[in-house]
């Protein structure tokens, strides 16, 4: 890789690496809560990049993505908790979770192959709800998911004796549970970035983009659109499944509440707001949309106190108001996303000058 030898890129990569390594220590100064917020930001990066394969590359609008996350999370919860008395190791559970999510992806994909756009969105939305409602109700007649109470005391991620929960002393530094998860998640996120990059410029990645651009032409050059679309659903779903597993382990608790339609919409918003199909944009979107609500949660109250000396509006409701407004403004002024791929940016600016062609 000759371009990696370029001193400027090498410097940039070193800088990013140092920042990524040091970030949790900076966040920890504000309390472990901030490290957890960071953990979730990275987890959302992972999820958004998985969804990016389906939505950004293949152009399939998927509103039920959270279902695959749920499948992964429940797989971990059931195979590593006292609920069934199973405590399988990570290298067994995570592949099972990914495989089950992958199967769910194909199951969702197969009836939707002829659908596009709005129609596909509605079917996937329904699928997402079905999975959530299943998790909610599979406690009778046989108790599988423990229903709305959820599953507790889930095992943390562990490699042998090294557990990711609790504090660890390492090189004179104290690493808390959330900090260890942070490094695990960063490693996973880097992996998914590399996979996304490689797929983007591959035979399959081009086939996805071709289907997104013109399905009939894609068929005419010999692309088996059915299989290639199912592959996109399966790939995206597998990433969702892995993310779900890590989520369950990190939280130690899962319940159907975590997998609502709102979550699907948030992840889709991350992809769209950041810049569909453009990896840096999707990462930016995921980080912003996961951190902004939390920053507002902690920021809105003190700012009001400083400005008015008293609480004018309940911080909780103001937070969502500001958040919603931010979404509207970004989409109004940067319709291609905050950091779109250069091509997509050009496309939209051209459309504006040409008018509606």
């Amino acid at each position: 890789m000759s371009k990696w030898l370029n001193p400027r890129s090498a410097f940039g990569i070193t800088l990013i690496a140092v920042a990524l390594l040091g970030l949790p220590f900076v966040a920890a100064m504000g309390g472990q809560a901030w490290v957890r917020i960071l953990d979730f930001a990275i987890l959302y990066v992972f999820l958004a990049l998985g969804l990016n394969i389906v939505v950004g590359y293949a152009g399939l609008l998927d509103l039920g993505y959270i279902a695959f996350y749920a499948v992964g999370a429940y797989t971990w919860a059931l195979l590593a908790s006292p609920h069934f008395g199973l405590h399988l190791p990570i290298w067994v559970i995570l592949p099972i979770g990914a495989a089950l999510a992958c199967i769910a992806g194909v199951l969702l994909g197969s009836p939707t192959l002829k659908l596009r756009g709005d129609y596909l969105a509605i079917v996937t939305l329904g699928f997402g709800e079905i999975v959530r409602i299943f998790m909610n109700n599979l406690n009778a007649p046989v108790n599988i998911t423990n229903g709305p109470q959820g599953i507790t005391l889930i095992d943390p991620v562990a490699f042998g004796d090294f557990k990711f929960s609790g504090n660890t002393q390492l090189f004179g530094l104290t690493l808390s549970g959330p900090m260890k998860y942070y490094y695990l998640l960063v490693a996973l996120a880097i992996l998914v970035v590399i996979i996304n990059l490689r797929l983007q410029n591959s035979r399959i990645g081009r086939a996805w983009q071709a289907i997104r651009e013109d399905e009939i032409a894609a068929k005419a050059v010999g692309i088996n659109t059915r299989n290639i679309k199912l592959l996109a659903f399966a790939m995206g779903a597998s990433f969702g499944g892995i993310a779900g597993g890590v989520f369950a382990a990190m939280q130690g608790f899962v319940s159907p509440e975590s997998f609502s339609l709102m979550e699907s919409i948030m992840i889709l918003a991350m992809v769209v707001l950041g810049g569909m199909g453009h990896i840096p944009g999707v990462i930016l979107g995921a980080v912003l949309l996961s951190i902004l609500p939390e920053a507002l949660r902690y920021g809105v109250g003190p700012i009001q106190m400083a400005l008015f000396g008293k609480m004018m509006v309940d911080p909780e409701s103001l937070r969502m108001l500001v958040f919603g407004l931010a979404l509207v403004l970004v989409m109004r002024f940067k319709p291609a996303g905050l950091w779109p791929s250069p091509e997509r940016k050009r496309e939209l600016s051209e459309k504006r000058t040409e008018g509606k062609a």
Partner: protein
């Protein structure tokens, strides 16, 4: 050219297709020989594009069938037709607009290559070698249709004539035995049409049989080895241009007499 090989490349036998009550194709039978440029003409709505779509698997015929290259052509899916060696362009250009010209041609290599997801994720040496070959072949094809200087531009930003050329390059990337061009000269001026004629002749001389749907009668008569005329979904005549031009039924069909 070798227009008299024993087995024809494509044989259509009594192909029929109707949409509701409209009989778009009525038992059309025709034969395309190896190495020829075969013209398919007819007034608007005569069923030319419907015939194309049946042959390339976009439509399933209601009757009859095709034999291609010595074996029946199961025209149930376009990707099968492409794999068998039938490539096509579209009357209203259908490129992958937000992909570059080079990427468009690279997509055309899909059906002749095999790298999968796992290979791409692991970036195996086989995948890299195949990827390099795809890229090189695509560059060669852009040279062939003479738009290599637009390789990095988005397909939708190319000029109309270049888009037509790009569509041909993408079709050629599938290594077709039969290249089907659906009104490639539509909307072109005289110079562009002349350049297109040279390109089509070049492709034929390099060994690809060509089926040409065209409105420009002058182009068809000058370029094609044999011509078939469709009218109201039925075959009127199939012969060499000199005969077709003089046929009374063809003149009537075109003049609406």
């Amino acid at each position: 050219m070798s227009t008299n090989l024993p087995t024809p490349l494509l044989e259509a036998k009594a192909v029929a297709k109707h949409f509701g009550g409209v009989k778009a194709l009525r038992d059309v039978s025709l034969t395309i020989r190896h190495g020829e440029i075969y013209g398919l003409i007819g007034p608007n709505g005569a069923g030319k594009t419907t015939f194309f779509n049946c042959m390339t698997g976009l439509y399933v015929p209601d009757g009859g069938g095709f034999t291609f290259d010595g074996a029946p052509l199961v025209a149930d899916a376009p990707q099968h037709a492409a794999a068998r060696g039938i490539a096509r362009t579209f009357q209203n250009i259908r490129l992958f607009g937000n992909m570059t010209a080079l990427e468009n041609v690279m997509v055309g290599r899909h059906v002749r290559t095999r790298a999968g997801v796992i290979g791409a994720m692991l970036n195996t040496s086989a995948t890299r070698a195949e990827e390099a070959a795809i890229r090189q072949r695509a560059i060669d094809l852009l040279h062939y249709v003479r738009i290599e200087d637009r390789a990095g531009d988005l397909a939708k930003n190319l000029s109309y004539g270049d888009q037509r050329r790009l569509e041909i390059a993408r079709a050629l990337a599938t290594e077709p035995k039969l290249l089907c061009l659906d009104e490639p000269a539509a909307g072109m001026n005289a110079t562009e049409t002349e350049e297109l004629r040279e390109l089509i002749e070049g492709i034929r001389d390099d060994g690809t049989t060509i089926l040409l749907i065209e409105h420009d009668v002058k182009l068809v008569m000058g370029l094609c080895d044999r011509v078939a005329v469709l009218d109201y979904g039925a075959l009127v005549i199939e012969d060499v241009p000199a005969v077709v031009q003089k046929d009374q039924r063809v003149i009537e069909a075109y003049l609406g007499a």
